[in-house]
């Protein structure tokens, strides 16, 4: 016989004195004030089954790339309407990079000639912005989507549900980090005029020929090739290019210029983050499958708008639980330092929510220095995330951990019980609108969002119990 003990060491000692093997739990008190809510939620008769169904829905969902379309067509975005990352936000509370990205997008759409004239549009409500998450989309960093921007369209082959994400612009001075200088807008126009249409032709040709690009399959492979699919997407990007390149080249037969095809191949191949914008909607597609699972405490979204960090939970519908976004801890580009960094921003924490990114750090030793860590830290991080998750992802195996699956399905109750917060790999945007990227690092959600979500789950549980 072996025994598991949790609590007083003395009782474990007494078992060892009887030659019984003892596995001790390193228990600590839960987050302050959560004891009652924890008991209520954990003892809810719905919970165990609801959590199991929620996480299974995530694990069962796969994603294929079926199209590339302008946002106006893909999700019906209209002139003057924009999407942004994170929970809902007002212009007054928007951070520098969020404002910068919206200003650049307004200029891109021709609503203003000079981006600096755009704030009046947003202040007056003449131009509006809503969370990407409310429109079957996700956006990295500021995550701003304008009607003319092209988006990847991912589909769950079983249900036909779709999610969307814009095309990745590359690094440095880019709109998603809040930069809106003429060079940024020039690149975005090229993406709209050349990259989008050529990718559309190639994606459709592949889809109608050998079948759509299997985004889930690429994710599985890239995780075994040293990408954690959040801050490192090099293998994934090159595999995508491998799948699309023949059709892109064949596009010259459909009228694309050879020079444009070469430029597209150079742009995608030279942008190590290009696949991130496929990894993110693939994760959202999987997590959305669990939304609305009554009684489940599993997190279905973590997202930041540069001001607030918000989470959504399977058992609490579309409600956001928010707290102040934190500034990441990491390394800075050039002369930038912590004072230059904006609080955390972007929907990209959807990758961690699904079990990759920071949760798969162990598989990506090549980037541990970029995000300010060591290889042992990376192994420890992935192991630690198993403490707060419901499952191991059967497709996302980590070779160095003996092919253990990545930790998937963040459980609000376990976060509150252990105080272990989800680890997120992230880029850092400059605090001042127009700056662009200033660094990359590690960040966690503000702890209070988890007790807040737990309290809501507990209230719903009590209401169910009294109604029954």
């Amino acid at each position: 016989m072996r025994a598991v003990t949790v609590g007083a060491d003395l009782l474990g000692d007494a078992l060892e004195a009887q030659a019984v093997g003892v596995q001790r739990v390193d228990w600590r008190p839960p987050m302050p004030g959560t004891e009652d809510d924890l008991a209520t939620v954990v003892l809810d008769p719905l919970r165990a089954d609801a959590d199991a169904r929620a996480v299974q829905a995530v694990l069962d969902t796969t994603a294929v790339l079926v199209d590339v379309l302008p946002a106006a067509e893909a999700i019906g975005l209209e002139r003057g309407q924009f999407l942004h990352a994170g929970p809902p936000l007002t212009w007054e509370r928007a951070s520098g990079p969020m404002r910068g990205a919206l200003m650049g997008a307004a200029a891109l759409e021709g609503l203003v000639d000079d981006p600096d004239d755009a704030p009046a549009l947003f202040e007056s409500g003449a131009a509006t912005f809503e969370p990407c998450h409310h429109h079957a989309a996700v956006g990295p960093m500021a995550g701003v989507v304008a009607p003319s921007m092209w988006m990847f369209v991912l589909e769950d082959p079983v249900t036909g549900r779709r999610t969307h994400c814009t095309l990745n612009e590359g690094l440095g001075k880019v709109l998603r980090y809040g930069a809106y200088s003429p060079e940024v807008l020039t690149r975005l126009r090229w993406m709209g005029d050349v990259l989008g249409p050529l990718l559309q032709g190639a994606v459709r040709a592949v889809r109608d020929g050998q079948g759509p690009v299997d985004v889930s399959g690429v994710l599985t492979q890239m995780l075994q090739m040293g990408d954690e699919a959040h801050n490192r997407n090099r293998a994934g990007t090159l595999m995508l290019l491998r799948d699309l390149a023949p059709a892109l080249v064949a596009g010259t037969e459909r009228g694309s210029s050879a020079a444009d095809v070469a430029e597209v191949l150079r742009f995608v191949g030279g942008n190590d983050h290009f696949f991130l914008n496929l990894a993110m909607p693939a994760c959202k597609l999987a997590l959305d499958a669990a939304r609305g699972t009554e009684g489940s405490a599993m997190v279905v979204a973590m997202a930041r708008n540069g001001t607030d960090f918000g989470i959504q939970v399977a058992g609490t519908g579309d409600e956001w639980f928010t707290g102040p976004a934190q500034v990441a801890d990491g390394l800075f580009l050039g002369d930038y330092g912590p004072d230059d960094a904006n609080p955390d921003i972007g929907d990209s924490a959807i990758t961690e929510t699904a079990g990759i990114g920071g949760f798969a750090m162990a598989t990506a030793p090549a980037i541990v220095r970029l995000v300010g860590g060591t290889v042992p830290d990376a192994l420890a991080t992935t192991r630690r995330m198993h403490e707060i998750t419901l499952a191991e992802h059967p497709r996302w195996a980590v070779p160095v951990l003996d092919f253990q699956g990545t930790p998937t399905g963040i459980d609000v109750t376990r976060v509150c019980r252990t105080g272990v917060l989800p680890q997120i790999n992230t880029g850092m945007a400059g605090r001042v609108a127009g700056t662009g990227q200033v660094g990359a690092g590690l960040v966690t959600p503000p702890a209070e969002v988890f007790p807040a979500a737990l309290a809501r789950l507990a209230r719903l549980s009590r209401e169910r119990a009294s109604g029954a």
């Binding site: 598991v4 949790v6 007083a8 009782l11 004195a17 739990v25 390193d26 008991a39």
Partner: protein, 470 residues
């Protein structure tokens, strides 16, 4: 030159369980230059204790903070430095005592995580504070494991929810409020070392169970299974859910020839339902439900022996009463709730004025260790009782076994030696218990009359008050 005494209070963001901190406090209090030391989590009860000791604790200290409070014999900074170093060393020693900390992998942080890959037969023993116990126990049930809840102060509705979930899965929830179990000879919680044998016990009472184990062991009869179902299991709210499962399991074990169900006074309907369930089992079930007019635990043990055809031995008594009776009151200071209740019933039956306290009661153990581990509370009460003019006889219990104080006589004997009143001790233990029953009995017998049978000890105490012979 003498320097004035000095107080030092600091709040740390750290956690250790109350028993471990008791050890740390004791270690630190024994350091040179330290007049008093209390290292404790800042629970409301501990804050009261600290205030009572004259320490001022910052208002922002919460139950998840550790308070280090020291009173030093002087204000010399080197004395303080040495004392704080002593605290650090004692806390470090707690951590290094855990073998898991040495490995590369961090130890599991929840029961769910500890159970990944565990054998389904492995039991889980939960002793975290009561408000958090259900959460860990629910992990055990979800993973298909039996669980014993040692924690005090577990809300009744948590117990009901857990036991309902367990009943659906054919799992057993042992406890709460019954800190004793023996699983195929292995003791969990407070448990005496017994030889293997034909008796299986289902106990809604921890010390009641231990009394039976001790008496049967003395008579040469072994107990392989003692399933502690919790003091409230036979109440109306829980409705005997765990008792039923425990009876079912013992009935299914061919090695069990006789089942004894011991409980504090149960709910009548629940008792009746269990009695009719017991009647359907193949193994005879002896009910030992304490109550007015019902047999005491010693009588139950004697009945079990008679049923098994084993002669009833003389229950051992050692030492003698040295002092004269001067008051009319029997004061009972018990670590064992059922032993306290048995004594209370016998006093009431005999019409003897009495004041019997269960020091293990949930209300007295908020945020501190059980009196079977921590003698402080009993020693305080003992001084009070001995000073009280109405006190005639003092009765205390000393319960041995795994999990209990490693040497209870060491603190009790000096306190009892001062007693100006006769003292009777119920010493519950078996010959193989780690404390060495014989050594404890010998030490206690120097200052008190020591009985193995609690009922015997109580009758003797009553006899002293009423002038009857021994």
């Amino acid at each position: 030159m003498t320097r004035p005494p000095h107080q030092h209070v600091e709040v740390r963001s750290a956690y250790a369980d109350s028993v471990a901190l008791l050890q740390v406090s004791r270690t630190v209090a024994a350091l040179p230059g330290v007049a008093a030391a209390q290292v404790a989590m800042a629970t409301p009860l501990n804050l009261d204790v600290l205030a009572g000791m004259g320490f001022e604790v910052p208002d922002d200290a919460g139950p998840n903070d550790m308070v280090v409070a020291l009173r030093l014999v002087d204000g010399d900074p080197t004395t303080l430095e040495a004392a704080v170093a002593g605290v650090d060393a004692a806390l470090r020693a707690l951590r290094s005592a855990r073998p898991a900390a040495a490995g590369a992998q961090a130890p599991p942080r929840t029961t769910a995580s500890a159970l990944r890959g565990a054998d389904p037969g492995d039991p889980v023993l939960v002793s975290v504070p009561g408000a958090s116990a259900a959460v860990e126990a629910a992990d055990a049930l979800a993973a298909g494991h039996d669980v014993m809840i040692f924690s005090d102060n577990v809300p009744l509705e948590h117990e009901v929810a857990l036991k309902r979930a367990a009943a659906e899965r054919g799992l057993l929830v042992m406890g709460p409020d019954c800190g004793t179990a023996v699983l195929d000879g292995v003791g969990l919680g407070f448990a005496n070392v017994t030889r293997p044998g034909p008796v299986g016990v289902v106990a809604a009472s921890g010390t009641g169970c231990q009394q039976l184990l001790a008496l049967l062991d003395h008579a040469g009869v072994g107990v392989s299974w003692a399933l502690g179902v919790g003091g409230r299991d036979l109440g109306r709210a829980v409705g005997g859910l765990a008792t039923r499962e425990a009876l079912r399991r013992l009935d299914a074990d061919p090695g069990v020839e006789r089942i004894v169900l011991v409980s504090k006074p149960p709910d009548d309907e629940v008792a009746a339902a269990l009695a009719s369930y017991a009647a359907t089992l193949g193994t005879p079930v002896q009910l030992a439900l304490l109550g007015p007019g019902l047999p005491d635990l010693t009588a139950v043990a004697e009945q079990v022996l008679a049923d098994l055809g084993v002669p009833v031995p003389q229950w051992p008594v050692a030492g003698e009463v040295h002092r004269e009776v001067r008051g009319e009151l029997l004061v009972g200071l018990f670590a064992g709730g059922t032993l306290a209740q048995e004594t209370e019933l016998l006093c009431r039956q005999a019409g003897v004025p009495h004041e019997v306290v269960d020091l293990g009661d949930d209300e007295l153990t908020h945020g501190r260790a059980h009196p079977m581990i921590d003698p402080t509370l009993r020693l305080e009460r003992l001084v009070g009782a001995l000073e009280h003019p109405h006190t005639g006889v003092v009765q205390v219990d000393v319960v041995l076994g795994h999990g209990a104080d490693p040497d209870p006589a060491a603190t009790l004997v000096p306190a009892l030696a001062e007693a100006a009143r006769p003292v009777v001790v119920s010493l519950v233990g078996t010959a193989a218990d780690p404390q060495d029953l014989l050594a404890q009995r010998t030490a206690l017998a120097r200052v008190a009359e020591v009985h193995l049978s609690n009922a015997g000890a109580t009758r003797r105490a009553i006899g002293l008050l009423t002038g009857g012979a021994r």
